[in-house]
């Protein structure tokens, strides 16, 4: 039965290129140009999946991206993709796909038991069942619900494909390349405007690809080809087939997903991205996405073989596939008649069930002339068949369409082509927060006002006739281009098309059956989520009449199709129940993306080594060569410690700490923030930014400063050096560099624009090698000839320039260890060489290179704080015991006023103290809370540990912490209960300086 449903000589497929593919483990053949759906239909495969809740057999319902049923698992292994719409998946050689939500197979599915139990699974079933006890929500209920809600399986391996992003700008972005979109592109493109035309299909043409109409006296295909050729020749027009405009954000920012290679199937070479994610800023947009046909709500309308009439026509004309041999067209309007005629011409037996009592007009006449039987004033009251449709029951309807006027009769059929009217695709318009208005004549929502420069054209605007689409497209294109500054706004003349006169439609929102609604037969409106008209009635009875509540209670409109075929029907049913007009019921919010979008595309290249930047210092190559273990400090990779053979972190850090104090140590401090501050008001400015006085600082000298926010809390610290009368070099914490510069600029620009100060970041201009320890002086003397490094002549916090290790250097006598130390700053290009030279020259001085962990231990031994570790934005300098740094003489500085706030000035605030454990070998965990007496919670917390280390130089563990009223409690004993609930460590509060309390070592 290979492709036995193909129609000889029809379709845009390439019969010279047969393609093998595998569906549910069986091999089939299709042709180049097929989708998976058309190829399955060509091979007579009707059953393609099981429904979400009841596991009912389902078939292909549409021929486009709105497909609710035929969502399949494409490919296997790392490239597997769940919820792929078979109607959009282009066939390629070797394509492999499997049905979802069924076990063990789509033919025999255990879950189908749910259908038998359906009366126990009403709308809101999960909410009602999995309520009590709450303790089981996460451990049990969620697991059950997730297992039941099968929507395909996510890949478990790393995606082997590559993706890319692309930023673009244009004058006119057109979403949809059907008759209206192509016309718009033509009109806009001819003005010379920059135009992007995107269409989700493989070919431009939209509905014309399935039509037999003529444009300007030629087949539509010729008009498409000519139009695309003209557009291709325009240098400023970008044509994007296989590209979905998936999201419309504020200010005409839209995202597009281009499927670059999906149609070729998996490739070993990933140099070309599989998908490209476009971020487009468009001056004007034209939304020409067409319309989606509405299914009719009739009893058991979900059998495999029930599909939209427009889809049936697409399969016949575009893909050369007969969707059935015995087709019943069920319609309330004329738009389904061409499908009936094309099916008849292709050899099917066709009957029409028309809701209208007296259908008339040229199309109806034509159908009758072709011998197609029309059952006027009738509706389908039921269907037969389970895994495939084999018949339906038809009965005349009462005048109000709410009941049957006579007994049903049966018609044998394997396909029902359904036409319930059209819904303009207003998704993007709505995403842009455009209003929707209900058109009573057309019985659909059409786009209304939108705050952004956008216009809709064609079927997406409710203009369903071809002549109107072409005309509207041209006018929209010309107008949009004009508003973007191109052309005069006059549209080219529309090509002539034969006017198709359509008679009036009859809308019956719920087609009655021989049994009451919800009894024995199901009127599905949302096929993907298995929601029926009866569920809407139930929701209304239980009070969920608001459309937003209705959606969440019944799940209608959710899932991968987001209710593209179901939403308006659901609203109509609710409107009927509430005896309201549809627009009064309202619509739910349309949210991006329009169709499911691969995470890979959104991420683009931003993954693996490009996911997050790794900032490295000029000395990084040496650190790597020297076996450093790195710590992430913001984006920076800083050496954490340098283990020698066999050392673990503890051993390495203890060695580094000891040696740095015994002989000398070397730290890469390049990441510290550095800001060049110049101007006549520079000293005044520093007076305002820091708590202490700066105008008194001598040129060539530095001073430690603490920076507060307006709340008086410490946010940064560092040493700033006066290079000249009006010239300062500020250093900040590594993490605070950007924030501090931003704060300086904010105050200068918003509060003190009259002040003459310029700030320039110089963080990375300088590579910084910090040499510390008793041997630092001797090592420095070996590195420089033109700087007198003797502390007697080069005092603490002074600054010198000269040549160090062959490089021009600024040397600062700054110490974060408490030992004699020199911060050697050289231009970054010299960083690696200077570092290497210092290491080499340092050998005879016992130099050890150390990382950030040892830096932390050494400063903690001296009680030096780290902003962000020992402070958390709630700590004042007084809390830190640093009253000395807060000037009492200055009129003002940032944060000063807040220090007189009652809470900031009160007794009993948390204050920085040292913490010693009774057992010197115990290193408290940082963050541990201290209590007065251990006991059963609740228990008053006295404060917490902020820094905690094993200090080889003190010979025991040391810790810093913020303790309530801590300065007055030095010597007190407190307790630190551990997380295990059993262990409690006894601790004593101390002064926060553990080493060289007299500060004798600073000058060697």
């Amino acid at each position: 039965m290979s492709q036995s449903y193909r129609i000889e000589g029809k379709g845009r497929i390439d019969r010279s290129k047969p393609i093998r593919f595998t569906w549910n483990g069986r091999s089939y053949q299709g042709y180049q140009g097929d989708t998976l759906a058309s190829a399955l239909l060509a091979n007579g495969v009707r059953l393609v999946g099981r429904s979400f809740k009841y596991h009912r057999p389902r078939g292909i319902m549409t021929a486009g991206s709105e497909e609710p049923n035929a969502v399949v698992q494409l490919e296997e292994g790392a490239r597997t993709e769940p919820n792929t719409r078979a109607t959009m998946a282009e066939l390629y050689d070797g394509l492999t796909a499997n049905a979802q939500n069924c076990w063990p197979s789509v033919e025999f599915d255990v879950g189908a038991l749910n259908a038998k139990l359906s009366r126990f699974f009403p709308a809101g079933f999960y909410y009602k069942t999995f309520m009590w006890p709450a303790a089981l929500w996460e451990p049990l209920y969620e697991k059950i619900i997730r297992r039941a809600a099968g929507m395909g399986e996510s890949p478990e391996e790393i995606d082997p494909d590559s993706y890319a992003q692309h930023f673009a700008h244009c004058d006119v972005l057109i979403a949809g390349g059907g008759p209206a979109g192509l016309s718009a592109a033509l009109a806009a493109g001819r003005t010379g405007a920059r135009v992007i035309l995107a269409d989700e299909g493989a070919e431009f043409g939209g509905s014309l690809l399935a039509d037999t109409v003529e444009i300007a006296g030629k087949p539509a295909a010729d008009w498409i080809a000519e139009t695309v050729a003209e557009l291709t020749a325009m240098p400023e027009v970008t044509l994007l087939p296989r590209t979905t405009v998936s999201a419309y954000y504020d200010h005409n920012f839209l995202t597009l997903t281009e499927r670059v290679t999906d149609h070729m199937g998996p490739r070993a070479d990933d140099s070309v991205p599989r998908q490209r994610f476009w971020k487009v800023r468009a001056k004007q947009t034209i939304l020409a996405q067409g319309a989606i046909e509405r299914p009719l709500l009739f009893a058991d309308n979900d059998r495999p073989g029930v599909m939209l009439a427009s889809a049936a026509r697409t399969y016949i004309n575009r893909y050369g596939v007969l969707p059935g041999r015995e087709i019943v067209v069920f319609t309330g309007n004329d738009s389904a008649y061409p499908a009936a005629l094309d099916a008849k011409a292709a050899g099917a037996r066709v009957e029409i069930v028309d809701l209208r009592t007296d259908p008339k007009g040229p199309l109806v006449d034509h159908a009758r002339a072709q011998g197609i039987e029309i059952h006027a004033g009738c509706g389908i009251t039921g269907t037969r068949g389970t895994k495939a449709l084999h018949g339906c029951d038809v009965a005349p309807l009462s005048e109000d369409g709410k009941s049957l006027a006579d007994e049903p009769f049966s018609i044998g059929c394997d396909c029902i082509a359904v036409a319930g009217g059209w819904n303009p695709t207003v998704h993007l318009h709505s995403q842009a927060r455009g209003k929707l208005s209900w058109d009573d004549t057309k019985q659909c929502f059409v786009p209304g006002y939108c705050q952004w420069p956008t216009r809709s054209a064609g079927a997406g605007n409710g203009t369903f006739d071809l002549a109107g689409c072409l005309d509207e497209g041209l006018k929209a294109g010309a107008a949009a281009a004009h508003e973007a500054g191109f052309g005069k706004g006059a549209a080219p003349e529309a090509p002539a098309v034969e006017l198709s006169e359509e008679g009036p439609a009859r809308q019956v929102w719920i087609v009655p059956s021989d049994v009451p609604l919800g009894h024995g037969k199901k009127h599905f409106h949302d096929h993907q989520n298995d929601v029926t008209a009866a569920d809407i009635h139930l929701a209304a009875r239980e009070g969920y009449v608001s459309v937003e509540h209705l959606k969440r209670y019944t799940t209608t409109g959710m899932g991968t199709d987001q209710g593209k075929t179901s939403n308006v029907n659901a609203l109509a049913v609710m409107a009927d129940i509430r005896n309201a007009r549809i627009p009064e019921v309202g619509t739910t919010t349309f949210r991006p993306p329009y169709v499911p979008t691969t995470f890979g595309a959104i991420g683009g290249q931003n993954r693996r080594h490009l996911f997050l930047q790794e900032r490295t210092t000029p000395m990084h190559a040496a650190h790597v060569a020297n076996g450093a273990v790195f710590e992430d400090v913001g984006d920076w990779k800083r050496p954490w410690y340098f283990p020698r053979d066999g050392e673990d972190m503890h051993e390495a850090v203890q060695r580094e700490c000891r040696q740095a104090r015994e002989t000398c140590g070397l730290l890469d401090a390049s990441t510290l923030g550095k800001i060049d501050i110049q101007g006549p008001d520079a000293a005044w400015f520093l007076n305002m930014m820091y708590t202490n006085k700066w105008d008194t600082l001598a040129v060539g000298k530095g001073r430690y400063g603490v920076m507060l926010n307006e709340h008086g809390m410490v946010i940064d610290d560092g040493v700033t050096t006066r290079l000249a009368e009006n010239h300062f070099h500020m250093t900040t914490t590594t993490g605070g560099a950007a924030r501090v510069l931003g704060m300086l600029e904010e105050w200068l620009q918003t509060e003190w624009p009259e002040r003459q100060v310029y700030c320039t970041s110089v963080t990375e201009q300088w590579a910084v090698c910090t040499i510390t320890g008793p041997n630092a002086k001797a090592l420095m003397a070996d590195l420089t000839d033109d700087i007198d490094v003797d502390p007697a002549n080069f005092p603490f916090l002074a600054y010198r320039t000269g040549t160090v290790a062959g490089a021009p250097a600024r040397v600062y006598r700054i110490s974060f260890t408490g030992d004699l130390a020199y911060e050697v700053n050289v231009p970054a290009r010299h960083g690696l060489a200077v570092w290497t030279t210092i290491l080499e020259r340092g050998r005879k001085h016992g130099l050890v290179q150390y990382g950030t962990e040892t830096m932390h231990v050494l400063r903690a031994e001296k009680g030096f704080i780290i902003v962000g570790q020992d402070t958390d934005g709630t700590v004042t300098p007084m809390d830190l015991g640093m009253n000395w740094i807060v000037s009492k003489k200055k009129d003002d500085f940032i944060g000063k006023r807040s220090h007189s706030r009652s809470d900031t000035a009160r007794e009993g605030r948390k204050q920085l103290v040292g913490i010693m454990t009774e057992d010197p070998n115990v290193v408290l965990p940082e963050g541990a809370h201290l209590v007065n007496q251990p006991g059963k919670p609740p228990i008053a917390m006295e404060g917490h540990v902020t820094s905690s280390y094993m200090s080889p130089n003190v010979g025991r563990s040391i810790a810093l912490g913020l303790i309530k009223g801590g300065r007055d409690r030095i010597g007190d004993t407190l307790h630190a209960p551990m997380m295990d609930g059993k262990t409690v460590h006894k601790v004593t509060l101390t002064e926060p300086v553990f080493f060289d309390k007299e500060g004798k070592r600073t000058n060697g």
Binding site: S162, A164, Q165, H166, F167, A168, H169, R194, S271, V272, K279, R281, G604, Q605, N606, H609, L610, L612, Q613, E614, R615, T616, T617, P618, A621, A622, V624, A625, N626, G627, A628, W636, F642, R644, D645, D676, Q678, Y758, T760, V762, E764, Q765, W766, A805, G806, A807, P827, A828, R829, H830, G831, L832, A833, V834, T836, T837, L839, E840, R843, Q849
Partner: protein, 226 residues
């Protein structure tokens, strides 16, 4: 300047101070130090050659930032005299003169690119000329490096991560902008007119972000056979 032999000493220093590092931690970075004992952030890295887009580092371009009040005629005249050209006041424009390039990067802020080594003498001259006029000249030559991107796909490559409109109708030679490329702040200048649909850009990037940007370019150029 650095002493001779430093180039070779990096590996020796590593060996001297640690036992052999664990496997996988050894740097595979090409190019340690150049003959002058200096190193640029992208030293030794080779970009794609022969394809529709090429990129290469322009190491050690001299870079000065100049701050001053454009409404102060003395400042404008003094600075312009040293540079030999009026400094631009049109936003996002740069002027070239005698090997100097002066970029507008803010209403009171300019970025000057000069050949390697010329930054020091220029800074001295500017400081002398602007004595007594509120201004700031800061040497940032080592803060950043410059990557030159050119070729038919240069614009496409930049638009993989740069959100501004680089279309010739809105951005051309003589224009410059501070912008971003994904996570990296960049400063870009179009240096040449379009030829064969391609263009040439200088991208200034912070030292520590240079490798990230470079790797992004390498990855991004792959689809054109880079």
């Amino acid at each position: 300047m650095a002493e001779p032999g430093v180039t070779q000493r990096l590996a020796a220093a590593g060996a001297a101070f640690t036992d052999p590092p664990a496997e996988g931690t050894v740097s595979t970075e090409p190019g340690a130090l150049d003959a002058a004992g200096t190193r640029s952030p992208l030293s030794g890295l080779l970009g794609p050659a022969g394809g529709p887009v090429t990129f290469e580092e322009r190491p050690f371009v001299g870079k000065l930032t100049l701050r001053g009040d454009p409404s102060n005629a003395d400042f404008m005249a003094a600075a312009g005299k040293v540079l030999g050209t009026d400094i631009p006041t049109d936003p996002c424009r740069f002027v070239e003169h005698d090997g100097f390039r002066v970029h507008w990067i803010g209403f009171d802020n300019w970025l000057i690119h000069v050949p390697e080594g010329a930054e020091g003498p220029l800074k001295t001259k500017l400081e002398a000329a602007l004595e007594g006029i509120h201004s700031a000249i800061v040497d940032v030559s080592d803060y950043y490096t410059v990557i030159r991107v050119q070729g038919a796909k240069a614009r496409r490559l930049l638009q993989k991560g740069c959100p501004i409109d680089l279309h010739p109708r809105t951005f051309g030679p003589g224009q410059c902008a501070g912008t971003v490329f994904h996570h990296a702040a960049i400063f870009l200048a179009q240096t040449d007119a379009d030829t064969d649909g391609g263009a040439s850009y200088d991208i200034q990037i912070r030292w520590s972000f240079a490798r990230y940007l470079w790797d992004y370019f390498v990855d991004g150029a792959r689809e054109w056979g880079g």
